[in-house]
């Protein structure tokens, strides 16, 4: 009997959107990342789990071009720099790539938002930085983006400090997706929200991923969030990736002792 050759999955036949190899980062004596590599394909959601201090946030900061790595390369499908290691960009180019191609939602909204500006202004900021100079267009774009993030439009001109935690996360999300980024980074986007609001924010994220097909990288220690959103998952510990694979596979049948511990530690 002749066996048919196995084709790789559809998803992986495209060129990866994100390619990072051999990322290293140390802060003084502390080694935050040791030789971390990752790829993400178009429209894929890559989850990163791990305990506090495992290097998740450092990894996200590197991918957000906030800091440069000690070693390693990072390529992103971000014209005109798609053939260039993004760590070699100068300050000005890096800012342009960040504005146009990378969106980020922080766990702490204070990091991502101007608390005393209006919510719509927070969203418009990204468009302004990208060069939009028409007030009417800014209003329209901000309204659209907030609507897509399920933000109540009646409050679009309230400052984030007057909004609830869930709404602040939606403003962050609207700001992150305002320019349809190539890569969306989510740093614990639902941690600190109560369970029902968490579910609503996750719904929004899921719908956005489905509608816009943005490649997402989601960092969380909540395995429920990872299970809901992520296609693939990487488990990190001590700055290393200890296990990686399909979400179902990793969460149902963990191989590495640490992952087993993590999965079983659920309440």
């Amino acid at each position: 009997m002749q066996t048919l050759p196995l084709k790789p999955p559809q998803l992986t036949q495209h060129n990866p959107v994100v390619r990072a190899t051999g990322l290293q980062k140390t802060y003084g004596q502390v080694v935050a990342l040791r030789d971390v590599s990752l790829v993400a394909y178009p429209g894929e959601v890559l989850g990163i789990v791990g305990e506090s201090g495992s290097g998740k946030s450092t990894l996200l900061r590197l991918l957000n071009l906030q800091e440069s790595a000690d070693a390693g390369t990072f390529y992103l499908e971000a014209s005109p720099h798609d053939q260039q290691d993004l760590f070699t960009l100068d300050r000005y180019q890096a800012r342009q790539v960040r504005v146009r191609h990378i969106g980020i939602v922080y766990q702490n909204p204070h990091l991502g938002l101007r608390m005393n500006h209006t919510s719509s202004g927070n969203v418009a900021e990204r468009l302004i930085l990208a060069g939009e100079r028409s007030f009417g267009s800014l209003r329209r774009a901000a309204r659209e983006s907030l609507q897509v993030s399920d933000f109540p439009l009646g409050r679009m001109d309230d400052p984030p400090r007057k909004l609830s935690g869930g709404m602040q996360q939606r403003v962050q999300l609207a700001k992150a997706i305002a320019l349809k980024p190539t890569l969306l980074l989510l740093d614990e986007p639902t941690t600190g929200l109560d369970v029902s609001v968490q579910a609503l924010v996750l719904d929004t994220l899921k719908r956005l991923q489905y509608e816009l097909g943005i490649t997402m990288l989601i960092v969380s220690h909540d395995l429920g969030v990872i299970r809901t959103l992520a296609d693939r998952v990487m488990v990190m510990r001590d700055g290393r990736v200890v296990e990686a694979g399909l979400t179902d596979q990793i969460l149902e049948d963990p191989q590495h002792p640490y992952t087993q511990q993590l999965v079983h530690a659920k309440l």
Binding site: R91, R95, A124, E125, G136, R139, R143, L153, G154
Partner: protein
């Protein structure tokens, strides 16, 4: 043959114009640098002067570095020559430099001002020194001065538009009452000191030299003559000066010059010319030089300010805001 002692000035215990020679030399070099890079904030060693920081020490140091025995000095505070701050500064400069003082903007060769530029067009041989409290125009949107300087270096001024956006959304019109951010020579974003929006266009292609100095923040910058100075604006919401159409000075009946509003009992208002020396000349029917805005309120450079709409409200911003 003459000796060195004969050639040099005799030793004086008190330096001319208060500042010692080294301080003046440093200031003059920094002023030259500022003129060479229009709008760029040049750091300088702000000296002690017998006055508290925040009361015009920056402007005073520039004035003292520039003043000479043949100068005629005018000092303005909010348009007024006789307020305490202006009177103190004028008396101090006159005592330290032995110069003539005046209140007439056209007679003065050196004008130090806080919050106003005179209504009459300044000539190429005049120098205007503006006192600046906050020299960093990005400070409202970028709290870190280090990062603000990076943005200046990259000419990355998007954030400044965020400030205007916020104003338009919150107050439905441009309420940036003073210190409206301007782009100098197409390169540096500049805080023109807290002059009203009314005075901002006066810097554009001006014939005179404008020097701006912040004593507390230790920064000075300049707008050389004939330099482009454009206020930031959205493509669909043009920059506009204060709408004071219909306001008439209570004493002289003059219109279309910058006014101060004086609230009266019963919700009424009285208006008074902000430029007190212009008001004096108007009241005495003395000869008045050419002004930046004519009696119909038209700016002297045609086309620089967008045509005003007939009615005061609703503003353009309100229309584009929609009703939601």
């Amino acid at each position: 043959m003459s000796t060195l002692a004969e050639l040099a000035f005799s030793r004086q215990d008190y330096a001319y114009a208060f500042l010692d020679a080294f301080a003046k030399r440093e200031l003059r070099r920094k002023i030259l640098k500022a003129i060479a890079i229009p709008g760029y904030q040049v750091p300088y060693a702000s000296r002690e002067v017998p006055m508290a920081r925040g009361w015009g020490t920056g402007g005073l140091q520039v004035t003292l570095a520039l003043v000479g025995p043949k100068d005629t000095v005018k000092v303005i505070d909010q348009g007024d020559d006789d307020s305490v701050n202006a009177a103190n500064l004028r008396r101090f400069i006159a005592r330290m430099a032995g110069v003539k003082t005046t209140t007439d903007a056209l007679e003065a060769s050196l004008i130090q001002s806080r919050h106003r530029i005179p209504e009459e067009i300044l000539r190429p041989d005049q120098i205007l020194v503006l006192q600046v409290p906050v020299p960093e125009p990005l400070s409202w949107v970028e709290p870190s001065y280090t990062r603000a300087r990076e943005l200046h270096a990259d000419a990355e001024y998007g954030l400044a538009w965020l400030g205007i956006y916020e104003d338009l959304v919150r107050y439905r019109s441009n309420t940036h009452g003073a210190d409206y951010p301007v782009l100098v020579n197409g390169r540096y974003l500049m805080a023109p000191s807290p002059i009203p929006r009314w005075d901002t266009p006066k810097l554009h292609l001006a014939q005179h030299l404008t020097l701006l100095s912040a004593g507390r923040e230790k920064r000075l910058y300049a707008v050389p003559p004939h330099t482009e100075v454009r206020p930031l604006e959205f493509s669909d919401v043009p920059f506009a000066v204060e709408d004071q159409r219909g306001w008439a000075d209570a004493q002289t009946g003059v219109q279309n010059k910058f006014m101060t509003e004086i609230p009266l009992e019963g919700g009424q208002s009285r208006y008074q010319l902000s430029d007190s020396d212009y008001a004096r000349k108007a009241a005495l029917r003395l000869e008045i030089g050419a002004t930046y805005y004519d009696d119909q309120g038209t700016f002297y450079i045609p086309g620089f300010l967008a045509e005003r709409k007939a009615s005061v409200a609703p503003s353009h911003a309100e229309q584009s805001l929609g009703t939601d």
